[in-house]
Symmetry: C2
Subunit: 245 residues, 2 copies
Amino acid sequence: MQVSRGMGEGALDDGRRAAVLSLVERTRRGGRASDQVFEQLLEAIRGLRLLPGQPLSETELARDLGVSRTPVREAIARLTDAGLVDVVPQVGTTVAKIRLAEVEEARFVRESLEIAAIKVAMPLAAADVAGLRRLIEDQRHALDAGDLDGLFELDEALHGRIFALSGHPGVWATVRRTKVHLDRMRRLVLPDRALISEVIAEHASIVDALESGDAIGGEDLVRAHARRVSALTPELTRRFPDHFA
Amino acid sequence: MQVSRGMGEGALDDGRRAAVLSLVERTRRGGRASDQVFEQLLEAIRGLRLLPGQPLSETELARDLGVSRTPVREAIARLTDAGLVDVVPQVGTTVAKIRLAEVEEARFVRESLEIAAIKVAMPLAAADVAGLRRLIEDQRHALDAGDLDGLFELDEALHGRIFALSGHPGVWATVRRTKVHLDRMRRLVLPDRALISEVIAEHASIVDALESGDAIGGEDLVRAHARRVSALTPELTRRFPDHFA
DNA sequence: CGCGGGATACTTGTATGCAAGTATCCCGCG
DNA sequence: CGCGGGATACTTGCATACAAGTATCCCGCG
């Protein structure tokens, strides 16, 4: 029943799909099953453990996760709103392919909001420059250790803290929502150590600009940083054609 | 079973609540019941036909709308994600009160993105200045006719078209999502004719700036326009204390 | 051998029934 | 009259059964 895909890495056959999702200890950890299914699927899609275009059967998901279809359906409804899942009634549900239009849109949103945030944060950033530098150090360590997941989260943490410094911590949630499509592309380039090293260097430059109060330089740096992934679009669409719509 | 609320206007007793929502001709118009319930509730909340803090019973909604609880639940799950509904398990569901933190966040997002958009749209806007001016004329007519709903939609249309001109039409969807909280405050001030007249005048000024290519002026105008509602916050919280968290 | 049609096995959408939990109301008691 | 406790009626969460529709596969026919 699996659609044929060109790529091998990460593609799981039916029998092993349960491995990518697990709702063990559901009762112990409390909370609604619906929410946990949502979180599981969201992270699996963001982390490319569920690949773009991969079919998702409600029945199968429910069976693998040990719940009924009801909470699965509610989670899928929310993921559909987020643009991460495509549902065709009476036909099937698939993980949404990466749509370049949405990626570009997310780039615009992220770039605009982060520039606006850094302008506001500029005079206040000195207070936490130490914390920001520590995050960058952690990123270097994660890169050396090959901890891709950790790198990803540390990247998130850095940008999130910049929004917090700007006095608009809630805006980060909005950025996160729109950024999901960008994230999947970032995942694709994550194994490129040289590139990631450059990205971390850019982080350091941004923090330098924050510390020295260089507003113009900071804006340019953030802009370049946000557009880095866009520059890689041609290569990525060539290497992973099946991932894109 | 209704929670006691201080306000009288717009508050409906159980028997008449069916009036604010209707799913008539559901089968004829096609589409999923879940989606239609979502749309109905979204518009009812945005339009303050369902008031902040008002309890929503899944069973009651299902009965009034002529569907089962299942599609109602899926719609509510999506609305919860949007921050428009608060669900407390085993206790009840309510229309979310207006949270000033989210309003301020939405203001920041809207202002930042609209400034970024107008900068990009500046050189391209001349092409559709006529269309923009027509929208403003329609707004004046709607104000004269007292058509509040129409005014609201025309306002949306104007800002949406600016995003379209910027080459990032999809960003408008993001703005719309975060803007919902702002919208409810806008609804509260909508009956103020003098104020609305000023708002329309600001629209005209923005279009003027677009036509003349006045980037700096355009940015300042958009900023002032976005912050107009914020200035009214104290008065609104005083006049409608029950609407705010 | 190629093609068309029908049974079949899947998909999602909806309705309903049951379970668990909480707030309320009322009655009895002090 | 005030207060406490228990039955009750509500709430949402989840599981299951049924309905409607579509793609596929296979068999029969030309």
